[in-house]
């Protein structure tokens, strides 16, 4: 670090010089391209990383069935009690074996901290994180979602 002592006039001149250097930088920036993201207007061109954790999602096939086997591992892994898995025991008609079947897969977005432990632990990859990030609702109860029901889901505002 330089610690030069300037004379009175030299000090003023040095000070003015440094001030002008600063002014030069901001002057150049005055004309450079602006970086503002005009968010709601740029929805169509907005690029989100695929791994972005927006919300938990359970993909359903055409019949509305998910890959979830209601094992409850995710519920145990969750530090916040965000997930709640309701299941019932049914007997498979062909094999006659008893099997767990998912009734309700409840997810509370309001208390989720996106730690990904549930996704990590899922043996069938039935749940995943999607990039849907527009979560604002007027009522907190709307943040509680039933993921295995298509109508329980909110339609995504936009797709990426």
């Amino acid at each position: 670090m330089e610690n030069k002592k300037h004379s009175y006039i030299g000090g003023i001149a040095h000070g003015l010089k440094t001030l002008c250097t600063g002014l030069k930088v901001t002057f150049i920036e005055f004309f450079t391209k602006k970086v503002t993201e005009e968010y709601p207007d740029n929805r169509d061109t907005l690029v989100l990383a695929d791994r972005f954790r927006g919300t938990l999602d359970m993909p359903l096939d055409e019949a509305g069935q998910s890959k979830c086997i209601a094992c409850g591992l995710c519920e145990n892994a969750c530090p916040n009690g965000t997930l709640h898995v309701e299941s019932e025991m049914v007997t498979d008609e062909e094999t006659g074996k008893k099997k767990k079947r998912l009734v309700r897969y409840q997810y509370d977005l309001g208390s989720c901290m996106f730690c990904q432990l549930c996704v990590n632990v899922c043996p069938t990859k039935a749940i995943r994180f999607t990039t849907q990030f527009e979560h604002a609702v007027f009522d907190r109860s709307k943040l509680v979602k039933t993921l295995n029901l298509p109508e329980g889901k909110q339609a995504p505002a936009h797709k990426n």
């Binding site: 001030l19 791994r51 432990l117």
Partner: protein
């Protein structure tokens, strides 16, 4: 063990306990004597109190674990003491030996109710004064009737308690005045633009000049350490990102490292490379934010935006690989959450190429500016002795001439194998603290450049058992966080939950030295000093 023999010979009431980590047990009665001997003996010189952890050992009673290190000789020591009296636990203070103990002992008092004899300011640190009970004791009553959500304001008392022993050996409480009636006391915070969060200072002013300052913490205290005691090890990881949110990678790295060392997990080299690069990116991220907010504190709002604009690029890189921007969730026990994104290497290189000229721009617009220089130089000088005694690590310590970089002291991950310079300044003023961080951005970029092209192939995650149990013992691991040594201390009883998990906060030592270095300065200096200390409040309050 050489050190242990020496100290046993010096002080009575000391014994060595073998185990995963050899620990020196000291009787409370000889604790103060032992502390002085440990610090002052020519062959011991334990002048740096790394970490101070309150403990509830159940049967054995309440106690404290001290992690010590010598800055001159480089050796380390773990020391503990315990008192069996659960009704009126008392221990002698060591804050006259290591100033770092002052706030840490208040934390122990807050969590465990241990009274430290001769401590100058025995108040709660985080919780409200009307809190009932001591929450980290294992027999704490969590019922809502005892501690309802209180709807009344908390009055700030102008008095504090000091406990001393009288001639008969009884403990006597005396009241000490913090602020006299005629002092002009100004509240800075908890809602204040320059405290970078919800920290509160009570500042006694004489015109513009600061006469003394008291720090009030706890406005964002979430009890993370308490929460961790009922979470499994993988679940505890989710909370580390929320301590120092500008050191999310490093915090999690510390905890993962601590657990991995305890379990004896060997990590693939790829993981070590990725973790090192991520840590350094995080450091750049944090230092850029430091630059921005510091400029804003000094009133240069435009430079603030330049810093944030460039930091955005790092966040984008993080987002692509980890899926998060602030809360990253990347390190896991035995690896990382996901392999690096295919674009990662390319983008990091692009960022470094972009960043170097931008740094020059920062120096032109702010560092060289005569006003900024006048505001920083010679302001808030922290001496080297004080930095060590307070345990003010990171950029703050290095600006005071203390080479305290954990990456050099105890190399971990890839730091032993890369070349980088430890930036050390001698002045200890705001300008030195500022310059350390600006130069560290360059050093971090150098480290990344050495690694980025050579990331070896391999697994990014070691196969772990579904339930992770840490073998019984005490473990401490530290990393160089963005603003100092960030340590994780685990005491395990072999369960899948930690018996006690303590995070060595990087910010607590920084705010503990505030009173010392702001005295005699002006209000504007307090803002400049606070800015260059670069604390993050959630990390202090935990």
């Amino acid at each position: 063990m050489d050190i242990y023999e020496k100290i046993t010979a010096l002080v009575p009431g000391v014994r060595l306990e073998e185990g995963a980590t050899p620990t020196l047990y000291v009787e409370p009665a000889s604790l103060h004597e032992a502390a002085v001997a440990l610090r002052d003996h020519a062959e011991l010189q334990f002048d740096f109190l790394r970490s101070l952890t309150g403990m509830d050992w159940g049967e054995e009673g309440l106690g404290v674990v001290y992690h010590l290190e010598s800055t001159r000789l480089g050796h380390q020591l773990v020391m503990r003491t315990a008192t069996a009296d659960r009704e009126h636990p008392e221990l002698p203070t060591v804050c006259d030996v290591w100033k770092a103990a002052e706030l840490n002992e208040r934390e122990v008092y807050d969590y465990y109710g241990v009274i430290f004899i001769n401590h100058p300011d025995m108040r709660r640190l985080y919780l409200r004064d009307d809190w009932v009970g001591y929450p980290l004791r294992k027999d704490f009553d969590e019922s809502e009737e005892l501690n309802p959500i209180r709807m009344t304001n908390e009055e700030s008392s102008d008095f504090t308690s000091v406990y001393v022993k009288d001639d008969q050996g009884h403990t006597v409480e005396t009241k000490q005045v913090l602020f006299e009636d005629d002092e002009y006391v100004v509240n800075v915070g908890p809602q204040h633009p320059a405290t970078h969060g919800v920290l509160r200072f009570r500042v006694s002013l004489d015109g513009e000049v600061i006469r003394k300052l008291h720090v009030h913490c706890g406005y964002i205290h979430r009890g993370i350490e308490k929460m961790c005691e009922s979470l499994t090890y993988p679940q505890t990881l989710a909370l580390t990102d929320r301590l120092d949110y500008l050191g999310a990678m490093q915090n999690r790295h510390a905890l993962c490292m601590c657990i991995e060392q305890a379990m004896g997990v060997e990590l693939p080299e790829r993981v070590q490379y990725i973790r090192t690069i991520m840590d350094e990116l995080q450091r750049i991220d944090s230092h850029l934010l430091f630059f921005s907010t510091f400029c804003m504190d000094l009133g240069a709002l435009t430079a603030f935006f330049y810093g944030f604009r460039d930091r955005e690029m790092i966040l984008d890189i993080f987002e692509e690989t980890t899926g998060g921007r602030l809360i990253l969730n990347y390190n896991t026990i035995g690896g990382v959450q996901a392999d690096i994104h295919p674009d990662f290497v390319h983008k990091v290189k692009k960022f470094i190429a972009y960043m170097r000229p931008k740094l020059r721009e920062y120096h032109e617009v702010f560092t060289g500016n005569v006003i900024a220089q006048e505001r920083m130089k010679g302001v808030g000088v922290l001496s080297r002795e004080d930095a060590i005694s307070f345990g003010a690590t990171g950029g703050t310590g290095r600006a005071s001439g203390w080479a305290c970089d954990v990456r050099k002291r105890h190399p971990y991950a890839m730091y032993g194998k890369v070349e980088f310079k430890e930036i050390v300044f001698e002045e200890g003023d705001c300008f030195a603290r500022y310059m350390v961080r600006m130069k560290e951005i360059e050093e971090s970029m150098n480290i990344i450049e050495q690694l980025i092209d050579n990331i070896p192939a391999g697994d990014y995650q070691v196969k772990m058992k579904p339930v992770i149990r840490v073998p019984e013992g005490r473990y401490y691991a530290a990393v160089e966080g963005s603003r100092g040594e960030f340590g994780a201390y685990i005491e395990s009883r072999g369960d899948k939950y930690p018996y006690r998990l303590k995070f060595r906060s990087t910010g607590l030592p920084l705010i503990s030295c505030l009173d010392t270095i702001t005295r005699g300065g002006k209000i504007a200096d307090l803002i400049a000093i606070g800015g260059t200390l670069d604390y993050v409040v959630p990390d202090i309050d935990r």
